[in-house]
């Protein structure tokens, strides 16, 4: 049972480190999907916007974690072994 729980949390941990960041990424993708498939917008402005937003969230969340880690150096959510 402990092994199954460990495997499940390992599996979720492959994709999710920070639930807020994951929600933001999924929201960006959902907005892109709605624009392309729902509104039938031309992909040309949608694709660069999608990439810019994904790159921007990467910068934002790494900076936020760096701030958090430095203000509380002994408690890092990223300090897992993998």
């Amino acid at each position: 049972m402990r092994f199954a729980r460990g495997a499940a949390s390992e599996l979720i941990g492959l994709f999710v480190a920070d639930w807020l960041q994951t929600a933001v990424i999924v929201a960006i993708l959902a907005a892109g999907w709605y624009a392309v498939a729902g509104l039938h917008a031309s992909p040309l402005p949608v694709l660069p916007a999608l990439v810019l937003l994904l790159a921007a969230q990467l910068v934002w969340f790494t900076l936020a974690e760096a701030r958090r880690t430095r203000s509380a150096p002994k408690r890092s959510p990223s300090a897992s072994p993998s």
């Binding site: 092994f3 460990g6 495997a7 390992e10 599996l11 492959l14 994709f15 999710v16 480190a17 960041q21 994951t22 990424i25 999924v26 993708l29 892109g32 999907w33 392309v36 498939a37 992909p43 040309l44 949608v46 694709l47 999608l50 990439v51 810019l52 994904l54 790159a55 921007a56 990467l58 910068v59 969340f61 790494t62 900076l63 974690e65 760096a66 701030r67 880690t69 430095r70 890092s76 990223s78 300090a79 072994p81 993998s82």
Partner: protein
Amino acid sequence: MYQQLFAFGAAFLGSAVESTEALTIVLAVGLTRGWRSPLYGTVLALVSLAVLVVLFGQLIVQRVPDSVLKLVIGTLLLLFGLRWLHKAVLRSAGVIALHDEEQAYEKTVSELRVAVTRQDWVGFVIAFKGVFLEGLEVVFIVVAVGGTSLYFPWAVAGGLLAMVVVAAAGFVIRKPLARVPENTLKYAVGIALTSLGTFWAAEGMGASWPLDFVSILFLAAAYFAASRLAVQLIRRPALA
């Protein structure tokens, strides 16, 4: 041809990193408590993982519609790649420590220094757990990178070759592979998987990329630029 090579390379590099972590655990158990039980654990874990690859690979390739497959796997690949990239940026900027295989090895060894019984279940379970859990990441990388029938054999070949190369290196030197530049590999694989994930997720939405597969190179350049920007911003004195 470039697409197949990209799938092979991404699966190879990603699998090599995870195989190194699994090897560290198996070496620690084997050298501390004897080889028999940890090798059984390793073989059982590898067989379980092979079954997962065959089952999920076949199921995904044959049953799931192409657009759904690209959207779902693209999203998962993006989340997976961004997680690696996020950590690689923090390690490059010195916010979190580099992963040290020798330290991980010594930690496992010190936990195992107790009397060994004839049937060493502890060695078996630790080796099985280490190989299975690290191997799950290899399976995901292989299934996700080779998610379309065209690239699946290439990704499987990349993943298998990485495991063989790492296992052979471990067998020859009988020490943890401390010199593998893990953060650099994770950085590169993070960018490759994030780019591939963005490409597929957008294709799954119904969008077509200009220049088709070549646009992955531009995506990689964009994510690399963003990650370097993040490293520079983190290193600024105001934040540091």
